[in-house]
Symmetry: D2
Subunit: 338 residues, 4 copies
């Protein structure tokens, strides 16, 4: 359940509510919006039911049951759309779509600088790139690890970009957090619950990719793991689901953008590169995603896709990317009118 | 294979090519574009190979092998996008998106007139509505049959609309063709090959919905059945595919729009009503579909969705539809700039 | 709802019940088991509800609501397993599994005689083979049509086998029924409702293959179309569903065998040839199917798979088939002990 | 590539081969069968190609390229089926099917002792039970953790059973390995590559469940991660895949049993409890799995399913389990005859 504090309530009122919750053997989670403070109450159903019957405390405007298992991520919990601020770059709400771009994997300082330059010139705010790569086979290129992280930071700083990069290993969450502005959880780890908990406690915004065959409800619950571990800044990322169709690498589910907006207050961005697996589809699907309401895009850009160590087929060239960004501006302007 | 006639070739040249093809035991299909005539050659691979080696005839510019099984529908066969003219309404190419709208099922003359009025006022060109309904259970409402057809025609004529409606039964293809401007093949019949052949010979444009779990290649081959039966005017309709996700009724695959545009010269429209099954998703997904390149939309509109005999949950009210059409104009204008 | 007549009820009692049902504006369907007669009542919910309240008639033991839309096919409607008698060959109940075998397509009299010989020697009861073939592309071999039907009958008669063959076209249901003992509805036509209705009225048992992405509930409803058209002898056939997995042609869903047995009184057989698409998998999956409770098998056998016009990769040679049948006897004997 | 040593080769020959591989900048993996030793060579393709041309060393019978990315797990690498010995219990090859049984989650010592008793009396060799539970929601019961591990060991020892239990967290692989005989990797972690590597190095056999939407090839590659980390004893576990069907919790893919046997030398067991999610389906699908060739079963058994903290709907009672085990003996005996 949630306890909605009245706009006129005092700090003392809030303290009393928190104390009462703990006395009942329950836990709480605070969400302080610009309008009012909301207290999420988590724990055993019977205890919650008992608490609800005895919750007539000063400063409480109303209490509400939340029907779904995910609570902190839900629109029921927080009606207003969340805006996530990454060092001044704002994601969600009425802000224009952000763009994260760069190569699939960090391959060398030279490649990365060239990519970062293209990405920045195109107008993106984030540099993406994998230092640790989850690969189907143990014999495929696994990424440049720590060196890759440092290169990412250096290249991003050179062009005034933020860094988003994947964390694969519980043991180096803090190390990645040192270099990255946003921590990415990949599709294969969407239900790696230990990793979700540790990432949620790392003090950085988290971008949570949808699992290859995760339902929207499972995805919301995965985000709940991160939020319940202390992180308020979760960004969903739709990256295509696995279906029977083989023409595209995955089936990009843009209705998930609309669904997440209905069910959650958190922002969602779209990855048309993995979502389609085909360079020619990236631009039109990126435009469609923003039209459907996406708060941003993550796009693979490689200075020389033909020699990329991974995902060359779906990477845009700098020239393709530039054109995509020009069209994006028009679509973003249009969407603002809806 | 295809035989491309030179722009300077004469009618006699073409006659010779046709004669030669028949002499070799093969069949042909003509496609006369504004620029040049293309002759599709169909038949046994060995015979085609023999013919190819002996095809140095006057007026022939070049010959080409087509790698896929579908030929007439392919971009290889015809590079220029086809425009389908339905009594003056043009679908495909650089034309603005057409809109087909109306109730799931014809329920009464009153309902239909009210729907047709809303649809016309919103700016749609087509009235949609089922006279024959394919229902999962034999005990569900199966449609008003012949009476429904007549009502559709009457309501459409009253508001200067075209009619698109589904044909379910081989035995009444011609009857439906009498009342409808475009014949619709539903998702469940996408591989009802007998029906495809009969519809292809009926002298009307055909709208071919994608099967619930049809691959893009199977869909193209289904269109090839219709074209090889004599119909040049096939319109694809993406209506969502079946996946594991249950939040939406189907998963609307907008990348199929891009795929069809790459692989075929034929137009494609999108059905966000069946594609999502949720009223709140229809407008954003419609906008996204057009942004991705769709040549049109088919949308369920019901004057009173709460009492609809089918698909009430996904039908727009006239007011919703009006707003959708206003946004659509903006998106269509923007797309023209890409 | 259903009306269960008491074992002591008279023919007159039954007449009265039927008359009453019609008076209420409802329809009925009779099912006369060895123990008792059951009357299925179909129609508008409100009328049924009214009838139920006034159904205290002589000879009626009890009345029951049936919760699902499918009624005649359900276990609720008929608790005892149905046994379908095809000219003396019994399918379902406690009978040993039947085997239907033969080539994918009828190619020539010679091929068919060779196949029929192998099939009969192996111990199968049915010859299978397609005279009309539903093919993805219009340019693929479409079957030998009428000639194929006659050959099937002739080859089957020569070896004392029954014939099961697919009907694709509403217009020749009666023609196929003239030559075949069991009419097959293919996966692509599972929801071709017109065809289901006509096949249901043809006076022959019907084998209904599961659609490529049909749910079990949709499959039961498709069978309901056939039964409600007058046919009591429907045999389900699980033939694999479409999933993301590409190693096998389809994913053979043996849990569907158990599900159908729970939900319906009708028999179910399994097609491990289409279900796997791989010759090496046919034998083990056939054995597993019978262990899970299947009432029979349908297996592709070709005298020379390497030159088959279709499905060569999944066809057994006569020698493979013989071995499979030997193992089958052991599995069938074991199952009888469960 | 692999290097097959001749049966007459000496230890010195082997040492020379290993030295040569390292000199070439490659890595090796040894597999010593009862017949001969095979050396897997892993590394950069060009280096392997060079090595292959210079591999004429004493004691080498032949060298072979392995076409797939997975090598150590493949039948090409090792033709003979692997038998995994867990403290005397043998899994794979011609051994009778093993059975792992017990509750979904460890709930209390009392529950576990009761379950272990039932499991042992039924004839199972392994006690299963989760001490750490991966749950969709962070607010669901997450398992008894360390206490659960200790209880499992204690209950298993009391009835002379082995322990199989899931490890979720990289940080406590060694702790779980202390108490468990076999380490289980759950479906959600099938591509948690860090965990695979750590588990592969833990010195215990590993049971690798198939991911919810993993292809067979991805699953083989996941096993390759474990084997390349040093573990030769990997057991596959088919537990159902996610499809559009909702009647069953998952779709149990028994053709995967046949596929794994064809592609790999490693054993595979089947989980009919998660595979179907329905108690009534567990017994028939278990029998079908063994008939198809499964080397064992893992079955949820709970003394009181109606009060189970998770998966009660799919858990067998001790009485159901006993009957299942009796039938299993017959099926196992039959299979030995195939």
């Amino acid at each position: 359940m949630i306890v909605v504090m009245s706009p006129q309530s005092t700090a003392e009122d809030l303290e009393n509510v928190k104390k009462k919750i703990e006395q009942e053997g329950l836990q709480y989670h605070l969400s302080s919006g610009s309008e009012r403070t909301i207290v999420g109450v988590i724990g055993d159903k019977k205890l919650i039911s008992h608490f609800e019957d005895h919750c007539f405390l000063p400063g409480v405007e109303k209490t509400m049951r939340i029907t779904e298992k995910y609570k902190l991520v839900s629109r029921e919990f927080k009606g207003e759309s969340s805006v996530i601020d990454v060092g001044g770059v704002k994601i969600g709400g009425n802000n224009p779509p952000v763009v994260m771009a760069g190569p699939c994997a960090v391959e060398s300082m030279e490649q990365l600088m060239e990519a970062a330059k293209a990405v920045a010139e195109g107008g993106a705010q984030f540099l993406r790139g994998g230092a640790f790569k989850p690969r189907t086979s143990p014999y495929d290129f696994q990424g440049m690890a720590d060196d890759g992280l440092k290169m990412l930071r250096q290249a991003a700083d050179a062009f005034n970009l933020k860094v988003v990069t994947e964390v694969l290993d519980q043991r180096n969450v803090m190390e990645v957090a040192e270099y990255a502005d946003v921590l990415q959880i990949g599709a294969r780890n969407m239900q790696n619950f230990q990793l979700l908990k540790e990432v949620g406690a790392a003090g950085r915004p988290v971008m949570l990719k949808r699992g290859l065959c995760a339902t929207i409800k499972e995805w919301l619950n995965a985000a709940e793991y991160i939020m319940s571990a202390g992180c308020d800044d979760v960004i969903f990322c739709e990256r295509g689901i696995r279906t029977y169709e083989t023409y595209t690498r995955n089936t990009l589910d843009l209705s998930a953008v609309v669904a997440i907006k209905e069910l959650s207050h958190l922002p969602i961005i779209v990855d048309p590169s993995h979502g389609t697996g085909r360079r020619s589809m990236v631009r039109p699907m990126a435009m469609a995603a923003v039209t459907a309401g996406a708060d941003g895009l993550i796009i693979e850009v490689h200075p020389h896709p033909e020699v990329a160590l991974c995902d060359g087929d779906q990477s845009l060239t700098p020239a393709d990317f530039k054109r995509t960004m020009e069209d994006l501006k028009k679509v973003a302007a249009l969407r603002a009118e809806f």
